[in-house]
């Protein structure tokens, strides 16, 4: 049981380049999230999805786009990378229901924008 898998684990981009981070979960979870972690800022929600085909903005959505075409996958895209997007990105998922408050995280994707 792999849980939540993120690819790639590391990436270096030049300013203006584009890329996509892929998150895949095998737990049949309804909800999926993208967070970024920065020193002194904790984990901040970028975008989230409550189900296949639906996405919504979190607290720091600017400069990012997402898609949830399949229930198990949640893609995070950067159309024109900026140095301010240098960060560690975490994908997470959780099931539906009152007792399913626990997020399962991936191992993270470290992105550096030069």
């Amino acid at each position: 049981n792999a849980g939540v898998t993120q690819t790639p684990k590391f990436r270096v981009l030049k300013t203006g380049q584009s890329m996509t981070l892929l998150c895949a979960q095998d737990m049949n979870h309804e909800y999926m999230y993208w967070y970024r972690q920065d020193p002194g800022m904790g984990l901040r929600l970028i975008h989230y999805s409550v189900g296949e085909g639906t996405t919504a903005k979190g607290e720091v959505p600017d400069g990012y786009n997402v898609s949830r075409l399949k229930k198990q996958n949640f893609l995070l895209g950067l159309e024109s990378a900026a140095p301010s997007q240098t960060s560690v990105y975490f994908c997470a998922s959780r099931g539906r229901g009152r007792g399913a408050n626990v997020l399962t995280f991936g191992a993270g994707s470290r992105l550096t924008v030069l």
């Binding site: 909800y31 904790g42 929600l45 409550v50 993270g108």
Partner: protein, 113 residues
Amino acid sequence: DQQVKQNSPSLSVQEGRISILNCDYTNSMFDYFLWYKKYPAEGPTFLISISSIKDKNEDGRFTVFLNKSAKHLSLHIVPSQPGDSAVYFCAASELGGYQKVTFGIGTKLQVIP
């Protein structure tokens, strides 16, 4: 505006002693609180949680206390072990269709052998 605050960025404790990590929140709609533990180069992992209808939850060496009137919760680790050295995130969620989870900035715990 930070809705979940962890005011101590770091904490050092001797092995065998108690570690107390604190967390304050401002959103009265939060009804479920969680602690996550994170090792370097890994994703956060769930540690323990508490519902707003309780004031204490215990799991082995870990106990979480909730004081709703003060909007404060704390995580106690007794006894502390070197393997507990990690960053601990306090998190909270509110009633809602998607139950967005809001995280604090984390407290780095170092347990000294």
